[in-house]
């Protein structure tokens, strides 16, 4: 039975999306003490974000029920900002902070949308595709609003369908990938009936909305707020009046915490072995940080990580075959929604790249690395800590964000003082 003190966990999971929930449930099934911590108040992550008006999907509900049934300790509304020493994470909420002790750790930190700078992208109501969906789930009135959906990735279609179902007028969907690459992607799904079914449902929901391929946003216009967007196919352009631009360029993994913990990163993703364990012993990683693959892959990886963290290796192995199938899907996703080089040319010299510090594109051009640009221009030095502009400059300039320093998320001074106190309690343990 539970072998840990109340403030310590045999297995601690960071991130309560599908991967984290699956990991926590599987680990907790053997009666050990499991905790799950998430920045959001409710479990479900981004994809299973609960709407104020509707029920979550059956899948989301059943995993949430399992968390309750297995008595997993859910720490909502807390973000992890430091690991003062292995086995201890520090987390902060709006009015509190916690010292979380763990034996094994599962990192299921999910992904965020990639945003690319173009003229006007900082105007209010230019918002991420997933971002606008999240806002609507949180009661933003969208009925009758004119929305252009643009960028790349399967999320665009899901978001367009959601917004349309809630009364939005979707004027256009602009996918930067070509028709041919999308066709190849669709063909690669033929081995996955569930995906085909999702695709058929989506296309029925989206019937009548102009869907443009090889097409992207060139500029957003407005005085104090978005009023119109210009879309282009490279050769032809069109300006459309609208209330919202929902724009995201697929997903980038949240790997800041894994980097802080010393996990090996390759090509922007956390490297794991068959059991989802990283190079740091006892630290596992599952879901989008190991490769963008969607909810099904996240659930399988989460289960493997949870089982492995609880030393149920044989059971974990049973899921390897299933995982491989979903990984094939992840690879075709990556191929299909690769960003076209024209997108590198969208930002003008005066286009803001770093929104926190208002650093313009032209200011960044003289530099050859993320680090030198940071030091000289303050790019990436604001509260988002480069989470937005880092992913953009990775694409624009091929800069890589390869280090993370604590606090890995902005924290209050009282919380940082607490870190010092912990270090002073046992200075021997701190290298």
């Amino acid at each position: 039975m539970a072998s840990s003190t109340p403030d310590g966990f045999d297995v601690l999971v960071v991130g309560a999306g599908p991967a984290g929930m699956a990991a926590a449930v599987r680990a907790a099934e053997c009666g050990i003490c499991v905790g799950i911590v998430d920045d959001n108040a409710a479990v479900g992550g981004q994809i299973w974000r609960k709407s104020a008006e509707e029920d979550v999907t059956e899948d989301a509900k059943s995993w949430a029920d399992c968390l309750k049934a297995r008595q997993v300790t859910v720490l909502g509304g807390m973000h992890v900002f430091d690991q003062p020493e292995p086995g201890i994470l520090l987390a902060e909420s709006s009015d509190n902070r916690s010292v979380l002790h763990y034996e094994k750790l599962v990192l299921a930190t999910g992904a965020r949308e990639r945003f690319l700078p173009f003229p006007g992208w900082t105007l209010p109501n230019v918002i991420g595709a997933g971002g606008l969906q999240a806002m609507v789930k949180c009661r933003l009135p969208i009925r009758g609003k004119r929305v252009v959906v643009a960028g790349t990735g399967p999320l665009l279609l899901a978001v367009a369908a959601y917004l349309k179902a809630h009364g939005a007028e979707i004027l256009k969907i602009c996918e930067q990938a070509s028709w041919l690459t999308l066709l190849r992607f669709a063909t690669s799904l033929l081995t996955q009936p569930a995906k085909i079914w999702q695709g058929i449902q989506l296309s029925q929901q989206l019937g009548g909305i102009p869907f443009l391929t090889s097409s992207w946003v060139a500029a957003a216009h407005g005085d104090k707020m978005l009023e119109a967007v210009t879309i282009t196919s490279g050769s032809e352009t069109e300006t459309i009046d609208c209330d919202y631009l929902a724009c995201g360029f697929h997903l980038v993994p949240n790997i800041e915490l894994p980097i802080l913990l010393g996990c090996e990163i390759s090509d922007g993703f956390v490297q794991v072995n068959d059991l989802q364990e990283t190079n740091v012993s006892g630290v596992f990683c599952a879901g989008e940080p190991t490769g963008i693959g969607g909810v099904e892959l996240a659930l399988v990886e989460g289960q493997i990580a949870g089982l492995a963290a609880a030393s149920r290796i044989a059971e974990a192995r049973h899921l390897f075959g299933k995982r491989e199938g979903f990984r094939r899907f992840a690879r075709s996703l990556q191929r299909a929604f690769r960003l076209r080089p024209e997108l590198r040319m969208l930002a003008g010299p005066e286009t803001i790249v770093c929104r926190c510090e208002d650093v313009m594109y032209a200011q960044l051009c003289p530099y050859t690395s993320w680090r030198s640009a940071k030091l000289q221009t303050r790019c990436g030095m604001g509260p988002c800590q480069g989470r937005v502009c880092g992913a953009a400059t990775e694409f624009l300039f091929n800069w890589s964000l390869d280090s993370a320093r604590p606090p890995v998320f902005p924290a209050r001074v009282e919380s940082l003082v607490a870190v010092r106190d912990i270090k002073q309690q046992d200075p021997q343990k701190i290298s």
């Binding site: 959001n40 008006e53 918002i127 997933g130 971002g131 949180c138 803001i352 929104r355 926190c356 604001g382």
Partner: protein, 81 residues
């Protein structure tokens, strides 16, 4: 269960449905969340607590991400937009 929540955004009373975030209240009040370092208006971008563009002061506490904070009765929200 209550079917609406009353709060203030920059001193103006506003009523929102349950489950609304502070970011939604700010939008309904016709305000923007903040002014950027160079004075441009900004609103939520990521909608999920990553970008910090939606930060406002809630009940006197500055730098709260309004996209992750749910509205509560009597809340006092201040933007610097």
């Amino acid at each position: 269960m209550r079917n609406e929540i009353a709060l203030k955004v920059n001193g103006t009373h506003i009523v929102v449905p349950p489950g609304a975030t502070v970011a939604v209240a700010v939008a309904l009040a016709g305000q923007v969340c903040r002014k950027s370092a160079s004075g441009a208006p900004r609103g939520p971008l990521c909608g999920m607590g990553i970008c910090f563009e939606c930060r406002v002061a809630i009940n006197g506490q500055p730098h709260c991400r309004s996209c992750q904070a749910f509205c509560e009765e009597g809340m006092d929200v201040r933007t610097n937009g």
